[in-house]
Amino acid sequence: METRNIVIVGVGGQGSLLACNLMGRALLLEGYDAKVSEVHGMSQRGGSVVTYVRYGDKVYSPVIDTGRAELLVSFELLEAARWFELLRPGGTIVTNTGRIDPIPVIMGAAEYPDNLQGKFRQKGAIVDAIDAFTIAAEAGSQKCVNMVMMGRLSKYFPFADETWQKALEETVPARLVDMNKKAFMLGYNAKKGVI
């Protein structure tokens, strides 16, 4: 099989590390060769973060270059735009419709672009957008945005439900498993968000 390329982006502090670990765990359980990159250090301080997930029969590079990702998963809308370049033509964007204003926007030095989803579509991308902040709150905590988005992302993988369940149990701290499972399921089942 050809190597599959998935990019997960978000804002530092949104839990992309945990999402990465969950993804990696699931791929291992399914028996694939996989490489999963992580982000540490400076960019975690509220900066933009990007992580790469690649799997298949034999994976070489741990990074995904521009124009290569079939799936771009974004925990925050603006980040989907920032990393749009990584998407291959006709690829799918799975995004949170919620926004977190970056400091230049907060300070009034820049504007948060409007109608981003429309612009993604104009460029030929398929957009699957959900209101992950609201859904996460429903699951019990704003902090679950990562699991809501991973639940949504799981739709795009031919894995058994048990794989995700098991991977989740093995990566999330025991006392948070229930809430995270709920977030994951709510993300999976969520209605597409408003455009």
Binding site: V11, G12, G13, C20, G24, R25, L27, L28, D33, A34, K35, V36, S37, E38, V39, H40, G41, M42, S43, Q44, R45, G46, G47, V59, Y60, S61, P62, V63, D65, T66, G67, R68, L78, E79, A81, R82, F84, E85, L86, L87, R88, P89, D101, P102, I103, P104, V105, I106, M107, G108, A109, A110, E111, Y112, P113, L116, K119, F120, K123, Q142
Partner: protein
Amino acid sequence: MKSLLLGNAAIARGAWEAGVCLASSYPGTPSTEITANIAKYDEIYTEWASNEKVAMEVAFGASLAGRRSFTGMKHVGLNVAADALFTISYTGVNAGLVCAVADEPGMHSSQNEQDSRHYARAAKVPMLEPADSQECLNFTKYGYALSEEYDTPVLIRTSTRIAHSQSIVTMSERMNPPFFQYEKNPQKYVMMPAYARERHPIVEQRILDLIKLAEDTFLNRVEMGDTKIGIITSGTCYQYVKEVFGGKASVLKLGMVYPLPSKLITSFAAKVDRLVVVEELEPFIEEHCKKLGLKVSGKDIFPICGELSQNIIADKLGVSYNDGMKIGEEIPGRPPVMCAGCSHRGLFYVLGKIKAVVLGDIGCYTLGAAPPLSAMDTTICMGSSISSLHGYVRAGGKNAVCVIGDSTFAHMGINGLINIGYNRSDCTVIIADNSTTGMTGHQENPTTGVNIKGEPCGKMDIEAVCRASGIGRVRVVDTYDLEETERVIREEMSIPEPSVIIARRPCVLLKTTKAQPPVCVDADKCIGCKMCMKIGCPAISKKESKVIINGAVCSGCGVCAQLCKFGAIGRDISQT
């Protein structure tokens, strides 16, 4: 057993499997998780050392005592440890000693882009470079055998993409830790001139022996494919090359990047039409090829600065590739910011307000240089703030202070302070003590009183250290209190005497820091002057003509409330 491991975790596993008994390191992205993972193995005594030189020397001591030891650091950490490394190269080891050093092309979290391979050459010690997590484990393990067989410290070089990528690893059990009884041998271990002169030729012979090894070690391998192009590469670049070419190029993959083989490279070159070296940063392998008289492409087509990528390699070597589509819109940047409630924020607000020249250092507080605080003038390397302030003041510089974090103070800052105490200059040194090594992910350090395993241990008394260094004036302020912080800084700056201000307030992200209820804005009182936005807090933004505070982000530090002249920000306002 198979597992998906981070490169850093795989190095830790390799050290464990090799029977390592001691690990001493100082954190630094992207190397930190190696030692954090080693600490999970009960069989290995693991510690955060106060700095990399100390760590290297601790590891040497353990090797001398007959136990395999490990130290890990980021590329600039090796600058600090270099003094020790260069002479441990002469003495050699007793039990195996491996040092992992993580380079950072692209500077995701670093202050420069130096290439550690130069250190291997300069110190005349072997350097291995793994290209995935499995190799991280295998090379580390093999590093110990190599270290003992050739009587040398061994460097393992990684880069961000190897250190911070997970890939599949087959693991084995821990071997019985070997033990080498220490025997007194001053000719080998006391590097005074007479003995060192005897050791130097041994080092030179060792390099010749290692070159022989390099010619046929399993670490270096040829993967013949199409012979129109032959690529010599190592580490993450090997993966990029395979990604771009698959079997459509011949590849010489080097797992040992110092010393480099000559015959292997020459014979590989003879089999291909065009020879190319693909390496990040310096033309290290390329220069070796040129010395061998080979015609080779390298930095004539690839950049020295930054990371390489599949697309750059494809582009420069004439392979077609997809370049992604731009969204065609200005995307506002999202630079890293001090967290809401960061203890450093108030300090930099005050320093900006009094327009001080701030000689800075490295840590979360370096973000004080970014707008809107914009209150830091320099960042060089760990500890430089204090020493440079002394020079600045001695040369007549006015209105200056320096800011250094607690971990950075214990790392190298302390040396500069001893110099100030000794040479007496009217310096005002500010130690931003947030009770943790924040920048690299909250490691313990000598000032926190807790060790790497989370157990209570010794605690350096910063005040006492300052006094013992000859600083008479040592004061403590709480950076959540702007008025007091400003008053104390102004006072100390005006007094012609060396002084230290400890700006003490634990990091908000620490588990031990109790969350305070968020503050909010009374819209009736807010006139939208944006005074509170001068501190660049991510919880505060403007909505229409008023300011709003995001309660989910706010940590309730109350610094913004102190800036509001209209009393519009408070904790108890119930918005009706």
